[in-house]
């Protein structure tokens, strides 16, 4: 079974990720930050680990 996320968790993801998107100092989270964001809302298994991904 693939991971299911509740609406409350999804809001936490969305607001953490996007609430500053229209601001000058906004930037996309890096993989370590992504992992921490997901862990903070209870998404901690390998499915939510972006560590094997990389980008410039």
């Amino acid at each position: 079974m693939q991971p299911l996320v509740t609406i409350d968790q999804l809001w936490e993801m969305a607001s953490t990720w996007y609430s500053t998107r229209l601001q000058a100092d906004s930037r996309r989270p890096q993989p370590d930050e992504i992992r921490k964001i997901f862990a903070g809302i209870g998404l901690q298994d390998d499915f939510w680990d972006p560590s094997s991904d990389s980008f410039g």
Partner: protein
């Protein structure tokens, strides 16, 4: 402020003000630069995963949370209709705008239409779930599919 940040913000503000993706000419006008400079910036922003471009390198498919094309996830906020790339981005639009909104989508299991009011502090309580098909490490292998 560096040029790519100016371009990025001009794109986001265009989406926020209109609900639609900008043309390179729109952005060139906003940042007072040539279209070639804007397109070069698009390519750099794409490499940083700030934008997803169509094959022409000039049309914005995604500036998350905003979609440059109609999708099944629409958001109405402050009288403007937006399209989101996915359910996560659908909640991301009210968050980015810092404005309440209404999300319209559909249940992929039943096909039933869905409508969710989202306030400044988040959506009303719901037992709906978001099903993520692709592991996080593979999202950008095909972000449109993801």
């Amino acid at each position: 402020m560096d040029f790519d940040t100016q371009v990025k913000l001009a794109i986001y503000h265009h989406f926020a003000e209109t609900g639609c993706g900008p043309s390179p000419e729109d952005i060139a006008s906003r940042v007072t630069a040539g279209v070639d400079q804007v397109l070069a910036s698009y390519a750099r922003l794409r490499a940083e995963r700030v934008l997803v471009l169509e094959h022409d390198g000039a049309t914005i498919r995604m500036a998350p949370p905003f979609s440059g094309v109609p999708t099944q996830h629409s958001v109405e906020a402050a009288g403007i209709e937006y399209y989101a790339n996915c359910a996560w981005d659908a909640l991301g639009i009210p968050a980015a705008l810092q404005s309440p909104g209404i999300v319209y989508s559909r249940c992929e299991q039943s096909g039933d239409p869905l409508q969710l009011e989202v306030g400044i502090d988040g959506p009303k309580s719901s037992d709906w779930c978001f099903h993520c098909l692709v592991p996080a490490s593979q999202w950008w292998q095909d972000i449109v599919f993801t």
